[in-house]
């Protein structure tokens, strides 16, 4: 019983982390596309900034993913 509760906990952690990460990166990407539409010459610079912001936004979902994988497999 405990084992299956751990697996359900791992699944919840991975799933909710995925929801949060997808919404956050989606918002950032939409702002990036808007920025390109306004000023197409800044596309390279904004791409670099977008990747930095994506790494920051993705941090907490990936932390919960790592802990969820530990629950599922270890």
């Amino acid at each position: 019983m405990e084992d299956s509760l751990l697996k359900i906990a791992g699944a919840i952690m991975v799933g909710m982390g995925a929801i949060g990460g997808a919404i956050g990166v989606g918002v950032a990407a939409s702002k990036y596309l808007e920025g390109i539409a306004r000023q197409p010459e800044l596309q390279g610079y904004l791409l670099g900034q977008f990747f930095i912001m994506m790494a920051l936004v993705d941090a907490l979902p990936i932390i919960s993913l790592a802990f969820g994988l530990i629950q599922l497999f270890g």
């Binding site: 990747f51 930095i52 994506m54 790494a55 920051l56 993705d58 941090a59 907490l60 990936i62 932390i63 919960s64 993913l65 790592a66 802990f67 994988l69 497999f73 270890g74």
Partner: protein, 317 residues
């Protein structure tokens, strides 16, 4: 005890275990065996034991030898590489390695000077260069196949047979200790520079008098202090989580080869080859995506280190 079959659960647990050196239950210091022994020598090994060497019971003083060895090796490699280029550096006839090193150096310098406002700090440049180069080199170890280094360390036999190295995780960043150690160093520097530039009173007033005024000190403390420490902890956990998840997916895809091996032994050759090819394709795809993550996480670690040290130096008014 009969020979234990190789099933995927044990395979995953075997690959998630570090090479721990600590105190066993009889007080002597040995390498840990754990109880995840998958190997044909299992019966002979377990009969002679009158102690247990479980890595989970070794306490705080246990050392993860593979983490320490890989991180020191890669740090030494980076230092030696840059030192040997700097020793023979020439302005008129640069070698290709010198060009690459100069490019990395310029990259770090422009990145740091964009963000770090106070001039005259001698430690920030080397710190940023060390951070990004060391983290990038340690992350690159993730692209090696999961079983390659244990296979070599065991004398070119399978890592599930008993060589003298039972466990070896090549990726030091997938152990929480290595990123936590680096973030601890950065945290010590943040505290040191905060107190040195602003004084103890200034540092405390930044924590307690913002965002509301001085009549809401408990509320300010509840908002500011966890934020301050969560930023530093997230620095470690972000790197750890990304690389641990990446390595976990590599191990999970490698479990396909177990299934392929079972099919091969059962005689269904075509399906076994098909699952082997699927495994190869998946590993390649994930490795290509992972290269982006590796470089990005090293860059973000450096940028955040510089940003936090900049915040430690500046005052708000």
């Amino acid at each position: 005890m009969a020979e234990k079959e190789l099933n995927s659960d044990d395979f995953i647990k075997h690959h998630l275990q570090n090479l721990t050196f600590g105190q066993c239950s009889d007080g002597k210091w040995r390498f840990a065996d754990g109880h995840i022994n998958i190997g044909t020598d299992q019966k002979a090994h377990q009969e002679t034991k009158e102690y247990t060497c479980n890595p989970k019971e070794m306490g705080f003083n246990a050392i993860h030898i593979d983490t320490m060895a890989m991180s020191l090796l890669l740090g030494g490699l980076f230092c030696f590489l840059f030192w040997s280029v700097a020793r023979k550096a020439s302005v008129t006839n640069p070698s290709k390695l010198q060009n690459a090193v100069e490019y990395a150096f310029d990259f770090v310098r422009t990145g740091v000077s964009d963000i770090f406002v106070p001039k005259g700090n001698k430690i920030i440049g080397p710190l940023a260069l060390t951070t990004i180069a060391w983290v990038l080199l340690m992350n690159l170890m993730d692209l090696l196949p999961v079983d390659l280094i244990p296979w070599i360390a065991n004398g070119f036999q399978s890592s599930t047979e008993y060589g003298w190295v039972h466990y070896f995780k090549v990726l030091p960043v997938a152990d929480i200790n290595a990123p936590a150690g680096m973030a601890l160093g950065v945290a010590i520097l943040i505290h040191y520079y905060s107190i040195k530039e602003k004084g103890v009173g200034g540092f405390l007033s930044e924590l307690t008098l913002q965002p509301l005024g001085k009549w809401a000190i408990p509320f300010n403390m509840i908002v500011e202090i966890p934020g301050f420490y969560a930023k530093q902890a997230a620095l470690a956990l972000r790197l750890y989580g990304n690389l641990f998840a990446g390595e976990m997916i590599f191990i999970l895809i490698a479990c396909l080869y177990i299934y392929s091996g079972e099919l091969f032994q059962a005689g269904i050759l075509s399906q076994s080859i098909m699952w082997g090819i699927v495994g190869i394709l998946l590993q390649i795809l994930w490795a290509v995506f992972h290269i982006l993550i590796i470089a990005l996480q090293a860059y973000v670690f450096m940028i955040l280190t510089v940003v936090f040290l900049n915040q430690a130096h500046e005052t708000h008014h």
